[in-house]
């Protein structure tokens, strides 16, 4: 990093402060971890011994190692959803290929195998993302599905054998009673990172993450950097897979999947900014350990099971807040702005208090509008060229899938029942796509969808309890509650400056706790006859909900395409600063966006309750990743600003038709997962970014 310190003529004190400022995220994460350690030590019965530290260090090591890889991807401006699946794959590969009879296993060999598998997957991701310029989120999502299938092919149930030698090495002591091995492994990885950061590649990585176009124009090989990033990250996940194999001594095809979401939380709590260019793996390691410590905190505080997700969510928000406290934090800026507004209001100089006169600039001279229409309106396909380019692939693939269904299973194209089922089953994701899609258009992400669906369904079923009359007040109550949830999300993101992923992840946990408390563990009540009729009966050939879908799609297209709200959403997604400077009420719009997402999720909760006849805990769990996938398959850009609702709808129909095709076959689940991943990958091939100039 000599290049940044060289031109600085500052004194050493100033340099130190700058270094502190630059590593603030990591430092604060370290401080939070220290406080948590202190709390555990203080409350628990005995003092914190070396033994405890050794246990803690091995407990958090897997997620810390994987999160380091994720951090490097995020620094380069990417996103990797395949991380958890790589860990599972490495775990089953090791567990199924080690020979229980052979005494002693080569630690070096098996570590190399694990890292190698991870890097191979990374190269697969890197090829599609860097060379074919496809969006990281869809590529890695497809990889995730493919890997889950491959993992089940390698090992279809838990079992296998991992040599205890691996465990003795990775979980043992580097220096007896002084330094546990997991910390050494993490230290070695971090040292390797520091070396890498100092090289030209390290500088290029931050440059690509900050602004890929600028990086390309100063001569950085962006393709190569991106490719290498995914390979390196894959190696980190591979090492995490080796570590969890050593820790568990066996294989389990599902072991890595649940690590994914907490990995992102670890990255953000550790001070790395999503979107790239700022932060680093050191903070991430602290972040991972903070999240792991939560388990111990809940235990020593004896927090009741129902409250545990609430407590976790709260800790997550507090950790994120602690990480952002400074003069420049969003919260501080907002407070200063509020004070300035108050002062302006006292002085009577707020824009809204001024006289309403037209202060617009008048541009003299000829303008296109004043003269006669000089050029004719371009043709429809030219005006909407971009929308068509990104929305069409989904529909083309849909057509192919329907034709394949007809040939393979028969009874599709001419069977009205097929089309009706397709539309009914699509309706849930179609509604979610509007909410999640709008959030993504502004560059955010809503992870609170699953339990917003869950709690809405549970509360509705509980209030309605089979009575149509009760719908009259139950529906507004549930929708109002959803508004409140969305408002809370939006408020945290806009005014407290918490990143959308962390805020909505925390909200999700808190809602889960609330749903459990409300239902006391078993949701009561069931859907009313009218609601069930709406979702499952047939009016001639179609189910009533299909008619609602038509209306919904029209409203959604108009909302995003023809209203000021829609234009503000696109404005914010294309550039927050530019949007603010052009006078868009960014705060208000963002809060409305998250409210829209929560209301859409609540509608899905209501629809699912009608569809199933009752509500159940966890009914929304299967909708989170698909809701993101359909938006991106439909041509939206995950970083915001680009996408059309009709494209997202195409994505919904495509994925639903694909699932219906696969469900109609008797292929094993593993094969279906692989096919699903491949089709999604193929569908988005057409959405590739244009070559950088």
């Amino acid at each position: 990093m000599s290049s940044t310190t060289l031109p600085s003529p500052a004194s050493s004190g100033f340099g130190l402060r700058r270094a502190l400022m630059r590593n603030r995220g990591a430092l604060i994460a370290a401080a939070v971890l220290a406080i948590l350690l202190f709390i555990v030590d203080w409350i628990s019965a005995g003092p914190l011994t070396y033994f405890d530290v050794s246990f803690l260090s091995s407990g958090g090591a897997t997620s810390a190692l994987a999160a380091i890889g994720q951090t490097i991807v995020i620094l380069s401006g990417g996103f990797d959803l395949s991380a958890g699946a790589v860990i599972s794959l490495v775990n089953v590969v090791l567990a199924s290929s080690m020979d229980p009879m052979a005494p002693g296993a080569s630690i070096l060999l098996w570590t190399a195998v694990g890292i190698g598998v991870g890097m191979a997957v990374g190269a697969f991701n890197g090829f599609f993302i860097a060379v074919l310029r496809m969006q990281p989120i869809v590529v890695t999502l497809s990889t995730m599905f493919i890997l889950q299938g491959v993992t089940l092919l390698v090992m279809d149930k838990p079992g296998g054998f991992v040599s205890p030698d691996l465990g003795t090495f990775y979980l043992g002591d580097a220096i007896t009673n002084w330094l546990p091995m997991p910390l050494v492994v993490l230290g070695v990885v971090l040292l390797a990172w520091f070396w890498l950061k100092g090289t030209r590649f390290g500088t290029a990585l931050y440059a690509v993450g900050s602004d890929a176009d600028s990086a390309a124009s100063v001569g950085i090989n962006v393709v190569l950097v991106r490719f290498a990033v995914y390979v390196i990250a894959g190696g980190c996940y591979g090492l995490a897979g080796v570590f969890i194999s050593a820790q568990t001594g066996s294989g389990d095809p599902l072991v890595g999947n649940p690590l994914l979401l907490s990995m992102f939380a670890a990255v953000v709590v550790g001070g790395t900014r999503l979107g790239g260019g700022q932060g680093g793996p050191v903070g991430t390691v602290f972040g991972a350990y903070i999240l792991m410590m939560v388990v111990n905190i809940l235990l020593v505080l004896n927090v009741s099971a129902y409250y545990s997700t609430i407590a976790e969510g709260t800790i997550l928000v507090l950790a994120a807040l602690a990480g952002s406290i400074s003069h420049a934090s969003v919260l501080a800026v907002q407070l200063r702005a509020a004070r300035a507004r108050l002062a302006a209001w006292r002085a009577g100089i707020l824009p809204s208090q001024l006289e309403r006169v037209d202060r617009r600039l008048r541009i003299a001279g000829p303008s296109h509008h004043q003269g006669s229409p000089a050029s004719p309106r371009p043709a429809f396909h030219l005006r909407n060229a971009e929308t068509l380019r990104y929305a069409l692939p989904a529909y083309v693939c849909l057509l192919i899938i329907v034709i394949v269904t007809q040939i393979w299973l028969g009874r599709a194209i001419l069977n009205p029942g097929y089309w009706n089922s397709l539309l009914v089953l699509s309706s849930f994701l179609a509604v979610l796509a509007l909410g999640q899609g709008t959030v993504i258009l502004t560059g955010g992400l809503d992870l609170s969808v699953p339990w917003t669906i869950g709690i809405s369904g549970i509360i509705l079923a509980g209030m309605v309890n089979g009575s149509d009359a009760a719908l009259v007040y139950a529906l507004p109550v549930v929708l109002l509650m959803a508004c409140a949830i969305g408002f809370a999300n939006g408020f945290g993101i806009v005014y407290l400056g918490i990143s959308p992923i962390v805020m909505t992840l925390a909200t999700n946990g808190i809602l889960q706790g609330c749903a459990l408390l409300y239902s006391q563990g078993t949701p009561a009540g069931f859907s009313s006859p009218l609601l069930r009729w709406f979702m499952t009966a047939k009016l001639g050939l179609v189910t009533p909900v299909v008619l609602l879908m038509v209306v919904f799609v029209v409203v959604a297209v108009l909302l995003l395409g023809r209203t000021p709200f829609g234009r503000r959403v696109y404005g914010i997604g294309n550039g927050l600063r530019a949007a603010r400077l052009s006078g868009i009420g960014v705060e208000r719009t963002l809060i409305l966006v998250y409210m829209l997402s929560a209301v859409c999720a609540a509608i899905v909760g209501i629809m699912l309750t009608g569809f199933s006849g009752q509500a159940s805990l966890g009914m929304g769990d299967d909708y989170l990743l698909p809701s993101i996938a359909v938006v991106v398959v439909g041509g939206a850009l995950i970083t915001g600003g680009r996408g059309h609702y009709l494209g997202m709808l195409g994505g919904v129909l495509l994925l639903t038709a694909l699932q219906m095709l696969l469900a109609g076959t008797t292929l094993p689940y593993a094969t279906r997962a692989i096919l699903y991943g491949l089709v999604v990958l193929g569908a988005v091939m057409a959405l590739r970014e244009r070559r950088l100039q």
Binding site: D156, N415, M660
Partner: protein
């Protein structure tokens, strides 16, 4: 009822506060410190099992002996490893655990055993030899239900199979055992197979997908790990008469049990499809009382009694011949043979009805519903 609920919540909060400030330390000295490590709490089965464990711990025979603390690990095996470690550090005498993975916990469980902690796994298995396991024979469950279905179909017909969570031992054992049975009958054809994730809601979505390209008339029977209640509802929606419902081998949800009662039976609170339909069924379950029984056995083990390493629970199987409605759902009444509960008592049809164990007279219906033990 609103006030009652509030009072209960306040009491809960007060209890939490008391524990947090370590008030219980002195009185707990006499008691055995036992931890419950649950998996994901967000589904009906887990919540019901948790209620039954709590009821068992508060039963008068155990209340003076047991200091139970409940913790949730979520679906993440890594966290459960950390949690078990922390429980051992916190001085647990026994740990009752719903293992997220049968193998991933082996090392940490061995560690706990070495420190003299008794580890009891319920419902699913831990393969580490020092652990105690309390569960049903999953292969038997798959085999018995498949054999029943084959017999109902006279060895001939098209069936749909809806499985559980892929990649878990329980799903693997059940599905493989069932498929072995079906393979013996060449005229039984599995024409559709879906992943049901042990959820009624998922079962409906998956069945809807299958039926988009198939019609009910092409199907002769259903083998499902969870979802018969839903499948029957869907057949009624599709216009089938109750007498035409397909034979379904599947889960022990109360909704499914009520549907098995002869059509026209008077049942308080019933409303279609949660009503007696005379549906041809075999209903089996992984019983949610296994955790409570594991706790009871754990206390016996701490007190020095000889407890076998593996307790195989009798497979609760109910068919149309043995279905019987309970009036109140006390343990004594269930002992006399009743196995389905009125919708007016159990409003959630997805709730699991296999709650009777002749080894656990401490717990009955109110244990499963609200965590209250029998007298």
């Amino acid at each position: 009822m609103g006030i009652g609920l509030k009072v209960r919540r306040l009491a809960l909060l007060a209890g939490m506060a008391a524990c947090a400030f370590g008030l219980s330390a002195a009185e707990a000295a006499e008691k055995h410190k036992i931890f419950l490590s649950m998996s994901f709490i967000g589904n009906d089965w887990q919540a019901e099992a948790a209620n039954m464990v709590k009821a068992m711990a508060s039963h008068k025979s155990l209340a003076d002996k047991v200091d139970l603390q409940v913790q949730v690990a979520g679906p993440n095996a890594q966290r459960q490893i950390q949690q078990v470690n922390a429980m051992v550090q916190a001085g647990a005498e026994a740990i009752v655990i719903f293992p997220i993975s049968p193998t991933a916990l082996n090392q940490v469980v061995k560690n706990a055993c070495d420190k003299g902690v008794k580890v009891f796994a319920y419902d699913a298995e831990i393969t580490e030899p020092c652990a105690y396991n309390v569960h049903i024979d999953q292969e038997e469950a798959g085999r018995v239900t498949a054999e029943w279905l084959v017999k109902k179909l006279n060895g001939k017909g098209n069936i749909i199979a809806v499985t559980g969570v892929p990649g878990t031992s329980v799903d693997d054992l059940r599905t493989k055992a069932a498929k072995e049975v079906f393979a013996k009958y060449p005229d039984i054809k599995i024409v559709g197979e879906a992943v049901g994730m042990w959820s009624q809601a998922v079962a409906r979505t998956e069945l809807s997908k299958i039926l988009a390209t198939r019609s009910w008339s092409d199907i002769n029977g259903l083998w499902m790990q969870v979802g018969c209640f839903t499948a029957n509802s869907m057949q009624l929606e599709a216009g089938k008469k109750t007498s035409e419902l397909l034979p379904c081998a599947g889960e022990g949800s109360n909704g499914g049990r009520i549907q098995m009662l002869p059509e026209g039976t008077e049942v308080e609170g019933a409303a279609s499809p949660y009503a007696p339909l005379g549906a041809p069924r075999i209903s089996y379950a992984s019983p949610p009382y296994s955790g409570a029984l594991a706790l009871k056995l754990a206390v016996e083990a701490i007190e020095g009694k000889d407890v076998p390493k593996t307790t195989i629970l009798p497979l609760p199987v109910v068919t149309n011949e043995t279905i019987k409605l309970c009036n109140e759902g006390t343990w004594a009444e269930m002992k006399a043979g009743c196995n389905a509960f009125k919708p007016s008592l159990v409003s959630n049809p997805g709730w699991f009805a296999s709650i009777f164990s002749d080894q656990a007279p401490e717990i009955g219906l109110s244990a499963a519903l609200v965590g209250q033990p029998e007298d």
